[in-house]
């Protein structure tokens, strides 16, 4: 029997496809595991860097005398989920907190990060991730439009009407996109309500007891 016929005979056995596919899967799996070990530290580093950058954007400069990112605490968030809150301290006292909030946008969730100071005033809001319509809803991004900065300095009790103009509120909507700004305004307002409820926990100098 020559080589070609012998190979054709192997190919036709019931176990050959199983062994061949098994070997390929094994090699592919090993390659992926190795690649994961190589890339995982870089992925964590870059995600951390992005988070730190967004944290510093929603806090006034020099508000904290330490690395805010290193001072997280976990609480139950407005939607019932576990939420990581980062605390900015000055002389040990918590002067502001930063947390993430999710708005229900037109084309899916809009991920926000917002900062609130001791008195319940917004220190800044930024959109970290969204899939709103390009050219219309994406004006919520700071690099396209300064709209998102209109939250800065506002609070629940300073007379701000928390809604878009169309609904009788103080915030502009975009021509052609009302749902997006409405969702962001509602999410920031919810975040402030949650802050008010949780204020004693959030501003306690000692960590709350974890259960």
């Amino acid at each position: 029997m020559d080589m070609a016929t012998r190979r054709a005979a192997w190919f036709n056995t019931i176990w050959y496809p199983m062994v061949a596919l098994g070997c390929v899967t094994l090699i592919a799996g090993a390659a992926l595991a190795l690649a994961h070990r190589i890339t995982a530290p870089a992925i964590i580093a870059v995600e951390t860097r992005t988070l730190v950058a967004s944290l510093s954007q929603v806090l006034p400069p020099d508000v904290a005398d330490h690395d805010v990112f290193s001072d997280p605490v976990e609480l139950i968030g407005p939607g019932g989920q576990v939420l990581t809150v980062y605390r900015a301290r000055h002389d040990g006292e918590i002067v502001a907190v930063v947390f993430q909030q999710v708005a229900r946008g037109y084309a899916g969730p809009i991920h926000l990060v917002m900062g609130v100071d001791r008195s319940g005033q917004v220190t800044g809001v930024r959109v970290t991730r969204h899939s709103e319509t390009p050219g219309l809803g994406d004006k919520i991004e700071i690099r396209r439009d300064p709209w998102i900065t209109s939250f800065t300095g506002r609070s629940l009790h300073d007379g701000t009407r928390w809604g878009v103009n169309k609904d009788g509120g103080d915030f502009d909507e975009f021509s052609g996109a009302t749902i997006t700004p409405r969702a962001v305004v509602a999410a920031v307002k919810d975040g402030l309500h949650w802050f008010e409820q949780q204020q004693p926990h959030l501003l306690a100098t000692e960590d709350p007891i974890h259960e």
Binding site: A20, T25, A31, L32, H36, T39, R129, T133, P134, G135
Partner: protein, 225 residues
């Protein structure tokens, strides 16, 4: 370079172009070509996968029996795509945030499985590598051209955010061609992709038809009929 390699390259770039001739891989094509930069990023990622998949398939072509070839090719392509996905997440994070959702879709880019099945599984490694590279570059060209047309008509810029992909040195590529342009949203949205692709294809067909006519005409004069 031997003439067979030359014809492989010509096939990949033009005559068998994955988009304009074979009309394959239209899903990632239409999804990401809102800007030329996104097209370039997606094209380069697809080229890397295509090249590696072609080489891998050509390497094991004698050990793959016909009955399991498709699952084996798919395992190889899916693994390579995952590798590209991880690498981009780790080292090209800004671009990954834009393209991340679509990178996984390279798996179902039928063009890649098509090259593995139609070319790499029957040819030596070197030819498969050349084919993968040529097809990939042809695909990238199609993505960049379509992205550029849509970006220009849609937002009046070219290669916006190129520095996210290529580094700060390539900031010069970012051109605003129409300042104070209010934008033509339709071109940025998926329907604009279909429209632009349709017109580009019509252009390519018109060019081919004209060339065929010229060749025919010159052949007629040469034979003196």
């Amino acid at each position: 370079m031997s003439s067979s390699y030359r014809s492989i390259i010509r096939d990949g770039l033009w005559t068998q172009n994955m988009v304009f001739a074979q009309m394959l891989a239209l899903c990632p094509l239409l999804a990401v070509t809102g800007t030329a930069t996104n097209g370039l990023g997606m094209g380069l990622a697809s080229t890397a996968v295509l090249l590696c998949a072609n080489v891998a398939v050509a390497l094991i072509r004698n050990w793959v029996s016909p009955s399991v070839r498709i699952p084996i090719f798919i395992v190889i392509i899916a693994s390579l795509v995952t590798l590209v996905d991880m690498a981009m997440n780790a080292w090209l994070y800004e671009l990954y945030q834009v393209l991340g959702l679509f990178i996984a879709l390279i798996v179902c880019n039928c063009g890649i499985l098509g090259r593995a099945e139609a070319f790499a599984s029957k040819r030596p490694v070197a030819a498969a590598a050349v084919d993968g590279l040529a097809m990939g570059i042809g695909f990238t060209l199609a993505l960049v051209v379509l992205g550029a047309v849509r970006e220009l008509l849609g937002s009046g810029t070219l290669f916006a955010d190129a520095r996210l992909l290529l580094g700060d040195a390539f900031h010069f590529m970012e051109i605003t061609l129409i300042p104070e342009y209010s934008g033509f949203l339709l071109m940025v949205l998926p329907p604009g992709g279909f429209l632009a692709l349709g017109f580009l294809m019509a252009l390519q067909r018109a060019w081919e038809t004209r060339r065929a006519k010229q060749t025919a005409a010159s052949a007629v004069t040469e034979t003196g009929v």
